[in-house]
């Protein structure tokens, strides 16, 4: 696919793929992340590639093990948020009328209320620390931006010929949404899903950092919490503090690069043509004469 000529897309897919791979097969190769040892506060060495924590645990092992949970939460919350946004955004856009007005109002209100304060407050009131409560809380607060985008797209799509002809031929509403509208909006849905995943991972990291995540979970965010609790950075133990944050940033960047390239591929107006030096060739030779 010529799309893959874009170095940004290749970089994005490579980075994201690397972390997904790490999540899936990493734990089989890394040592025990929870194993205490006497080798506390060790800088990176041959035995421990990323050094050890205050309790002598291997940082690299923790990082690898934490990848899986972090990505699970990110993907889970992203997926749930996307599903909600599809139902409300596309559903509202397709239905039109009062239903659309109400759903749109709902989306705008949820959008404008700041997410993290709400998540923090709900999470601490309910003591929601497990994986699934965290996923749910994040998803229920972050679906609104995607819903708005999908609604706008659906509004412009529902008057296209293929939708009108489907309605005229009596196809049922939900079938039209599923088989005509949804497939056409798939690229945007994917793009919004990617945004949701980035948001979910960053939010989860923030929650963990504030101590609102269950300490038994091993995520990148939790690693940062423990590191900060034990004052890793100010003690100079950068090897404990920097890698988890860097992983979050890199994974986020990988996803963002994919989104960026997706945008370039789908939106012809964003195509950049490198300026070519104008060639003044000789006039084309006269047509061949038999």
């Amino acid at each position: 696919m010529s799309a893959f000529r874009s170095w940004r897309l290749r970089a994005g897919v490579a980075i994201t793929g690397f972390f997904v791979l790490l999540a899936v097969i990493g734990p089989f190769f890394a040592s025990n992340p929870n194993g205490f040892s006497r080798a506390e506060w060790q800088p990176p060495s041959a035995a421990h590639w990323l050094g050890t924590t205050q309790l002598g645990q291997d940082v690299l092992a923790q990082l690898v093990a934490g990848t899986r949970t972090t990505l699970e939460i990110g993907a889970g919350a992203g997926l749930l948020a996307t599903v909600i946004s599809i139902v409300i955004g596309i559903g509202g856009g397709y239905l039109g009328g009062l239903a659309d007005e109400l759903l749109s109002l709902l989306s705008n209100v949820v959008l404008v209320i700041p997410a993290l304060p709400l998540i923090i407050v709900i999470a601490s009131f309910v003591h929601a620390t497990g994986v699934w409560p965290t996923v749910a809380v994040i998803a229920f607060v972050s679906w609104a931006a995607s819903a708005r985008v999908l609604r706008a797209q659906t509004l412009s799509v529902r008057n296209r010929e293929y939708v009108l002809s489907a309605r005229a031929s009596g196809e049922r509403g939900w079938r039209i949404v599923f088989f005509e509208i949804l497939p056409n909006e798939l690229p945007i849905i994917i793009s919004q899903f990617i945004f949701s995943v980035i948001f979910a991972i960053l939010t989860q990291a923030g929650l963990a950092f504030l101590g609102l995540a269950s300490p038994e979970q091993l995520t990148w965010g939790n690693m940062l919490y423990f590191a900060q609790n034990d004052e890793a950075l100010s003690s100079g133990a950068w090897w404990w503090f920097v890698p988890p944050g860097l992983c979050i940033a890199l994974f986020g960047m990988g996803l963002a690069l994919i989104n960026f390239s997706l945008d370039e591929i789908l939106n012809p107006r964003l195509k950049i043509y490198r300026p070519v030096k104008s060639r003044k060739l000789a006039p084309e030779p006269a047509e061949a004469v038999s």
């Binding site: 043509y273 490198r274 300026p275 003044k280 084309e284 006269a286 047509e287 004469v289 038999s290």
Partner: protein
């Protein structure tokens, strides 16, 4: 040097859209526009007429680029300029002052967030720095009056005007600096028929009043028959016929032109059957062998498919050119 007073001369212009297989949108086109004349360029969508217009006005942008030919503009005082040689500040100063463009769909060629008056002002600020604010406002109002729009409307935004009014504003802007040549690319296509008529009459009136030359591009041949002094028909990136306007209306030399004429009704003529043209234009990425119209031509015969016809005068008429084996001179 005696001879017709030529204001614009294009010689062997070719334009290509870059890509893995470049699309050759304009192939070896040469034409001449005489001062005060209306030159009509007609052809179906994709024949290259808009690309040609952009090439003449130096408006091509990547991936489009001119791969051959020259465009020479001769202003009223006799100075000739090679348009393809201009660049940077020179090109910017030349633009609009001598040659201006009226674009398709006026509603999109006006800045939606600025008032009309300010947009006129921008033109003057860029080309007539000695004009002060009051002078710019005055001139803007003059121009609006010229196209029969209430001069109070300088404070309006584009969305506050109707389609026809916007088109007239765009025409007024094109005339702001008193250019010698105005290139009009489908100026009336997006308008309904009545407004179309008004705009065309307006253009005619302005032309008589101010004396500029016009290159008028459209797919609607019927418009050009009454409007143009000379007509050029384009097909697949090439000129297939070039002749005085009223001649083409009466009898066209090229089968494609004949087919075009046969596809719309004449208000006052006899009733007749209308025909479309079967098939579709050739792929402009491929090289052409023989006449590009051959696959669709009803009068095709042996040499058409293998030998490309050259644009040659119809026997007996020096000003009537056709690229056809049937009517042109010996191949």
């Amino acid at each position: 040097m005696s001879g017709p007073d030529v204001i614009l001369r294009a010689e062997h212009v070719s334009v290509e859209y870059a890509g893995r297989r470049p699309t050759r949108a304009v192939r070896d086109v040469s034409l001449e526009l005489r001062r005060g004349e209306v030159l009509g360029i007609a052809g179906e969508s994709g024949c290259g007429k808009t690309t040609l217009a952009y090439a003449l006005a130096r408006l091509l942008r990547p991936p489009a680029q001119m791969t051959g030919g020259t465009v020479t503009f001769t202003s009223a005082d006799g100075q000739s300029v090679d348009l393809s040689a201009l660049s940077g500040e020179q090109l910017r100063r030349f633009r609009w002052a001598k040659v201006s463009v009226v674009f398709q769909s006026a509603m999109n060629s006006l800045n939606p967030v600025t008032t009309i008056g300010r947009q006129f002002g921008d033109i003057f600020a860029a080309h007539r720095p000695d004009m002060d604010h009051a002078a710019r406002e005055r001139r803007a109002r003059e121009l609006l009056t010229l196209v029969n729009i209430d001069p109070e409307r300088t404070v309006c935004y584009p969305h506050e005007l109707s389609g026809g009014m916007r088109q007239r504003v765009v025409i007024a802007m094109a005339l702001a600096l008193g250019p010698e040549l105005v290139i009009m690319d489908e100026p009336t296509t997006a308008l309904d028929v009545l407004v179309q008529r008004e705009i065309l009459d307006e253009i005619e009136r302005l032309r008589e009043q101010l004396g500029f030359s016009v290159i008028f591009i459209t797919h609607d041949l019927s418009l050009l028959l009454e409007l143009s002094d000379r007509l050029v028909i384009m097909y697949a990136g090439q000129i297939v016929e070039s002749a005085p306007g009223e001649l083409v209306g009466k009898e066209a030399a090229h089968p494609y032109t004949q087919a075009l004429l046969g596809s719309f009704p004449d208000m006052r003529g006899d009733r007749r059957n209308l025909h479309g043209i079967a098939g579709s234009p050739p792929d402009l990425r491929a090289d052409q062998v023989g006449c590009p119209f051959a696959p669709r031509c009803e009068q095709v015969f042996e040499p058409c498919r293998s030998v490309a016809p050259r644009l040659l005068p119809v026997p007996g008429r020096a000003d009537w050119l056709a690229a056809c084996h049937k009517t042109g001179g010996p191949a």
